[in-house]
Symmetry: C2
Subunit: 570 residues, 2 copies
């Protein structure tokens, strides 16, 4: 998968799309909750030929420097290349691309093949006062990839696709040294051929790179076992304005504020990640994801909390609220799957137990390792499930999840074709706060639908369990009437949800980064001195603001903060 085959207007590969066909319950479900008939054919983006692609402005000196840095064949001013590299895949990005509103396109796309070439491009960018934006898979949904509107300097998009090799595996240390531009499937293929796995499987897996995961502090579906990318990443090589930063792949260190943790989540503002030494594990002999049903969302959350406090350590912990459970059932494409859950016999049984089937929540708990370990973990976990009135419904839901887990992002394009924006917002909070965060977000989202007067749907799952809390992952869709601006209505809902996160003590994002789309909540999240520290780091490392400026901390967001004196009011 190289960016050349990626849709410039939507998610993923040109030849892949989502359809309601073969999912007999989906169209009726969407019609019911959004008042949208998805059986009507949709309308896609404007065609590429209708786009007005501005001419690149690439000064002769810079052009020559880039040719010298990576070779002329790796310097592209091609319109398609520039459009595909102009931004990421946030809902806002998709809507604007479809409308032909391309934003401040890069003037040039370069594809370095070595770290020396990366360094040469960075040197050229600094010397010619250009803007440099590293580009992995382009799957950012937080606005981390677009140049600032009206950027007067030349803009270089640096596509890392050629740096795609696993360089070395250290079996004794369970570490692999890997180039940062490798895509998820290619990484797993290279590792897997030697019996190893990195175990990092974000939704974006097929269209995102190791460097992108690191630059945005990504999490994957099995992070409960393998760790978030922040834990997986031990060593780093990063080309910075002061030279190549080398973080040694030591397991833990006491060398002052962690430079490793400064690179994690840095979104290109400190330099270009070229290589990482990552934790790997042997491909487990057994892997099992089982489905469970809980009578209520509260019970589901309590199970995940109690598992986190127990001696059980499953590889996947996930529970959907009732609206997401209903959506999951509506997504069935094989009517045999989930039959146990939907069968009349089971329904009758659950009703006899006093369950409200509308409140029922679907959960997935995964186990992996040796057969003994899987059996032991399952036993420990199911003891907790049972204590909260839950019920195992076997492996069908897990198999379905495994088959479909990377397809979800395509649904956004399917719905956008029909005028309905759909998106995600996710956060994390301590266990004790999760019910309140959930209630507040639900109230905020439905309040926004109500204020707008548009049909909307909002659903959630809990995933990524930690000792002290978990991630809540919200998905929402709305169906504004044709005469309204879908982007504006979407923004009202998105902002209401994000605001509810930070107002409830939760964080602006658990694993989707800040970019530009979450930047307005940064100060409320990490407090103004926290923003001042990030600004100090960025300004001091990149005094000319050549490295992906405007991301994470906006240029003017903290004017005057330095003048403040300490105040300790809480």
């Amino acid at each position: 998968m190289t960016p050349a085959t990626m849709k410039w207007w939507g998610w993923g590969a040109e030849d892949v799309s989502f359809s309601h066909e073969g999912k007999p319950e989906l169209a009726p479900f969407i019609e019911r909750v959004l008042g949208l008939d998805v059986r009507r054919p949709g309308s896609g983006a404007v065609t590429f030929d209708d786009l007005e692609v501005p001419t690149p402005e690439l000064p002769m000196g810079l052009s020559a420097d880039l040719d010298a840095a990576v070779g002329p064949e790796q310097v592209s001013t091609d319109d398609r290349d520039r459009v595909a590299h102009g931004r990421g895949k946030s809902l806002t990005d998709l809507i604007r691309q479809r409308r032909g509103d391309l934003g401040r396109l890069p003037d040039v796309v370069v594809r370095p093949g070595t770290e020396d070439e990366v360094a040469a491009v960075l040197t050229a960018a600094l010397e010619e006062d250009a803007v440099l934006i590293p580009f992995g898979g382009g799957s950012s949904i937080s606005g981390s990839l677009e140049a600032e509107a009206g950027e007067p300097r030349p803009v270089i998009s640096m596509d890392m696709v050629r740096l795609n090799r696993v360089l070395e595996i250290d079996p004794a240390s369970q570490l692999a040294c890997v180039q940062a531009g490798v895509f998820g499937p290619d990484l797993e293929r290279q590792l897997g051929s030697q019996g190893w796995t990195c175990g990092h499987f974000p939704d974006s897996f097929t269209h995102s790179t190791l460097g992108g995961w690191i630059a945005t502090r990504s999490s994957g579906m099995q992070s409960d076992r393998y760790g978030d990318i922040a834990e997986i990443t031990r060593g780093l090589r990063v080309v910075t304005p002061s030279g190549v930063l080398v973080v040694r792949p030591v397991p833990s260190t006491s060398t002052g504020p962690s430079v490793r943790e400064m690179v994690l989540g840095s979104e290109g503002r400190l330099g270009v990640i070229t290589e990482a030494t990552i934790q790997v594990r042997r491909v487990p002999p057994e892997r099992k994801i089982l489905g469970y049903l809980f009578p209520t969302w509260a019970a589901g959350m309590a199970v995940m909390r109690d598992i986190a406090a127990s001696e059980a350590s499953p590889s996947v912990t996930r529970v959907s609220d009732a609206p997401e459970t209903a959506f999951s059932f509506a997504m069935r494409d094989d009517p045999n799957l989930l039959d146990r859950a939907k069968s009349k016999g089971l329904q009758a049984f659950l009703r006899r137990k006093g369950w409200d089937l509308e409140a029922m929540c679907l959960s997935l708990i995964g186990y992996e390792g040796s057969a003994d370990h899987v059996a032991g973990q399952r036993k420990l976990s199911q003891r907790i499930v049972k204590r909260h009135g839950g019920l195992c419904i076997g492996s069908s839901p897990g198999r379905l999840y495994d088959q479909k887990k990377f397809d979800t992002p395509y649904i956004r394009d399917f719905l956008l074709d029909r005028g309905a924006p759909a998106d995600v917002s996710e956060t994390s909070a301590p266990w004790s706060e999760l019910p309140t965060v959930y209630d507040n977000v639900m109230a905020a989202g439905h309040g926004a639908f109500h204020r707008l007067g548009v049909p909307g749907y909002l659903m959630c799952h809990l995933s990524h369990s930690y000792h002290s809390g978990a991630c809540l992952y919200f998905t929402f869709a709305l169906n504004p009437p044709d005469e309204r601006d879908a982007l504006e209505d979407y923004g009202v809902v998105k902002r209401a949800i994000q605001q509810a996160f930070v107002d409830s003590g939760a964080t602006l994002s658990h694993h989707h980064a800040v970019g530009t789309e979450h930047a307005q909540w940064l100060e409320e999240d990490i407090s103004s001195p926290g923003v001042a520290m990030l600004r100090a780091l960025f300004d001091g490392t990149d005094p000319g603001a050549n490295l992906n400026p405007g991301k994470i901390v906006a240029a003017d967001s903290l004017a005057g903060a330095r003048e403040r004196i300490p105040g300790a009011s809480r």
Copy 2:
């Protein structure tokens, strides 16, 4: 335990000291390896009355501001107070204190009782251009607490002792909100009264504080289970020049470079930590530390490596090399303890198995949790022990370790009384590199002894196992003749060991921080761009260099680094 009762010239409490008495094998052992007869009475430090304590220079304005900030009764210019707060407890510190070489003493010691008072002191320090040095237990062994020689500005030592309360426990989230000045035993007492533990037990436990652990990235003896302090610490409140930094206690977040991880290890350079929200766990029903013997150091390291790669997760993993094993046996104070290991029957048995008893290594592996969990972990671990020819010798060594674990630092004073400097240096590296790191350090240390022509002893244990590597903890002692400068000879050995760390790809310290004593290796460890990033953070956050200046990054260590252009040579 408050600093008022702490020795100004040595480790810990005035009324506690180490003695060889009751340890019949220790004196002969020390005589054999160091040529030192510890049965001769030693000579202590100069008496306090003989010290020449310089008069504090405290400008009227600052004095008035501090009185207003914390109340006059919490502002001390008392000589004993100032001497006790002048530096930490590194070997260099101890030797200089004993000689009456006090360094640049603080002019005043303040003891704020609230975060507002901390903020008022910081404001006063900035307004009057004073230097502010936060002080927890004063147990730093890396030179994190001493003002720079010749510092012309007034120096304030801020003792955090009054901020010592557990404010709140959130049982559902397994989090406790705790003031930063609490000492280890007091923290565990307050948590334990409600059935909780933090599980953080560094060697310095009795004489160090939560804030100090955070500011130096501390690790504890049971960190394999509870995590290093970097993992335990979720939320933070830090008084900074831009106001109170509030890091929300979320389990994971994607808000750019981690501000939380910038405070961890910051040694007072970014502000004063007043409060932290830390992970706690229920006191486990069962806790067991078992002793094992391995035929060789290589086998012991291999066992720890294989446990890390296995499904076992013990709470303590520790193995001593042969020299440390010999020292441990010599430290027995109850001749019944370890009898199995030393009994003639066992010795004969091991010889029949082909063991070289001089190469034998003592190990401790700990298990805690439910009885089932302990039994299961033990079974998994012992399978690996057996595969490498190891042997369980029961619970006596573990009990001994548990009783004595916080006494070790007192030995330094005992030896210094007799003219022999002894100290520790520790590091971490990937599993595959540990044997090389060990060999290089042994060669460097013994090379230094040889060059100096002094008797010396160097021993090591592996502890703190991670997925990809572990900590190697070296202890060394030397016995320079009376006419030599013990501090200089010590420095030759210490520097040789530290240099071997960074030359071997290991880190300058796994959990003792940088301070001033490790600062010279920082650039070799985290590379020059890493130092530039730290400098950017410190300079931007504290432009007047009022906050514990000179620690971690020396003021002039990177002159001109900004001018460098990227170069990618490896």
